[in-house]
Amino acid sequence: MNKQTYQSAMERLPFDQNFESSVIANMEAGKKPKPVSGFDKIPGAVRKAAEFAAAAACLAILSLFVFPLFHNNSFKLPHSSGNVAVRVVKNPDLDGQSIPQPADLSEEEQFKRADTIFSGTVKEIKTLEISLGGDVSYRSLITVSVGNVWRGTAHAGSTVKILLPYAVDESKDGDTVLSRIRTGMRGIFLTENYTKDSLDTSGDNALALIDLAPYGLPDDSCAFLDKDSGIVYRAASFPGLKMNPTYDEVCGYIDTMLSKDQATTTEPKNDTTAADDTTPVVTKPNGSSGKSGNSSDSKPADDSNKDSGCDYIWDRATRGHYFRIAKDGTKKIYDLPMPWDTLSCDHIETDSEWIYFELKWNTGNGGLYRCRRDGSEFKKIYNGNCPFTLNGNSIILRDQDTYYKMDKDGSDLSKIRYLMSGNETENILTDKNAAYVFRGDELLKVSLSDGSFTSLHKFSSSASRLTVAKDDSSIYFCENGSTLKKIGINGTKETTVAAADGEIRDVQICRGYAYYLLSPENPDNNTAETGASLYRVPTDASAKPKLIRSPNAKEGNSVAGIQISNSHLYVWYDDSLYRMNLDGSSPTKIN
């Protein structure tokens, strides 16, 4: 019983019996976590001795030289009280900083909340280290040259300071709106006017925010930033604003919102219930009310739907974006009102009108979503972590061990078949009438109409076969992570397509080739997983696998993902997207 033995062994490990009380005591004493630095990487006892010696040696130096510097960068805080200090710092460790969630407000409430609304250009961004009762946090302070003022106490042509709710790292784009703010950028700000009563408190200690700036942004819903790639803003907070607006359109929208009556509401263009991941599954009996299916959803066509030959690519680098890439390589960004803390998009498919996404967030939960090709009508159509595929006018999905069929708008959900566990392939393989399912050492063909199944093939072992793909004639699977095989869809002729010294993943089939990522086996226990390369091999195994993209200094450390259209190969190197020919030639950077 090695499992139980392992569990017993882990329980027996001699951790400090008073560990919990020691941690709690250190928390209450205000002890700070160690930053990850060169000094921090010294083993336990050696580090402790070195820390003591270093602290003693540095104390005199600090007294003579450092403290005066601190005071020169610090703020006078006339309206604050208690143990409070604020100073300007450079390059602090922002890892794990708390970012406040946008308030759940309607767009009317967003504008009511804002005391002063103005446009301007960011002249400077500083990082403030705020010590409040011993707790340290960081926030950015921006200086803005004011342009147009819609409302409030700012004046056109003046220069004002705005306090952000968290610190911005200008060296990289984060996932949130304000993390993308940069010096020189134009923006529109919905600010709060600080007063002497605008306080951050911790116990008896109080920081008066007016000591730092006259204006503040409560959260990420309070700014529209004008970047080269388009306006960055939180779409979910402003459903009345058309998708992908220009700067002038945002200004016009603000004019409208500030002038209309409180009672007027506009029909949202995006369904913001998608942001609530507790939305129940749409499971309605046959013929019930609701949207009638994608073919009868009517919407006036606009320019963004004229997308013959366009490819839709999920933006791995940020959450909530996808790209439409035209034939000439022109990129258009669509910003979706994503569920909070969206982790990844595991699968994306399109039909003539809609884009369908399998989204997942960090607790392992997920959902199936769709939107029109112009990004409108974004809506959750299934609640659950489920691979899916489009099949004619239906969606076939697998939730846990059960296969379901539903209409493309999420209605008319019906169960096809429950299959016992051991069936966790990352894709669903179907043709018009059947799903092909790996279960243990068997390959099954499951009828989509009545759920009956037949065994197509029995393998010689119960190896793992979780990475799968299909073309018209064969089913491809990766056995034990390192051997790519195929078998005919009638269950005959199991053959090896490629065997690798490493881990094969993300297999895709296109025009007679199998494409896959290969991560090398790494004997070094302590090396992070990096360095995946992209290979392709003829599906008839008539030639050896050919390396077509590998990590390099220019493009990136690892091929992180691929997406194939009929004409192009899209390759993610870390957070950069390249488009290239299907043989890997002529790469062009998209993002």
Binding site: M10, G96, S202, A528
Partner: protein, 162 residues
């Protein structure tokens, strides 16, 4: 407006609830109890200093595990820790069978060791592990299978599912 006050009752609950689990996870990386305790203490101190907002208990647990793993990896990426010793801890007082199993698991490559521990040691499903480690379930499944296969050669019976 950013909220800076700490709920001490809340943090005390977190420490009491998750400490042992996080210590075990840290041990699978650091291979000794002393460094594991340092790592996990820092996780809680950083959480206390900058508390994120958790959607639910599962998110809370996943965040703590991922933070622990990230800190372990950061620590191990320095030359001080570039060792391939399977274990740094004195297990002389362990029953022979337990020390043999522990040693075999600790000899595995890091990714196999991690998923094996999360699955068999902490009871997480493949889907849950995929969410914690930000990997695809198929990847986790493959690592689990390969880790089991390697253990089969090291241990009689390996870690076969019953």
């Amino acid at each position: 407006m950013k909220e800076l006050s700490a709920d001490r009752t809340y943090f005390t609950r977190l420490v009491n609830t998750y400490s042992r689990m996080l210590l075990r996870i840290a041990f699978t990386y650091m291979k000794n109890t002393s460094d594991s305790e340092d790592i996990v203490q820092d996780v809680f101190l950083s959480l206390y200093a900058n508390p994120p907002k958790f959607a639910n208990t599962e998110h809370e647990k996943a965040w703590l595990i991922r933070c622990t793993i990230n800190r372990c990896k950061n620590q191990l990426n320095s030359y001080w820790f570039r060792n391939t010793q399977p274990l740094d801890e004195n297990l002389s007082f362990f029953p022979e069978e337990e020390s043999a199993v522990l040693l075999a698991v600790m000899k595995l490559p890091e990714k196999y060791r991690t998923v094996l521990h999360l699955h068999y040691g902490e009871g997480y499903s493949i889907e849950e592990i995929a969410g914690i480690l930000m990997k695809k379930p198929a990847t986790v499944g493959t690592w689990l299978a390969r880790g089991r296969a390697k253990l089969k050669t090291a241990l009689k019976g390996g870690f076969d599912d019953e």
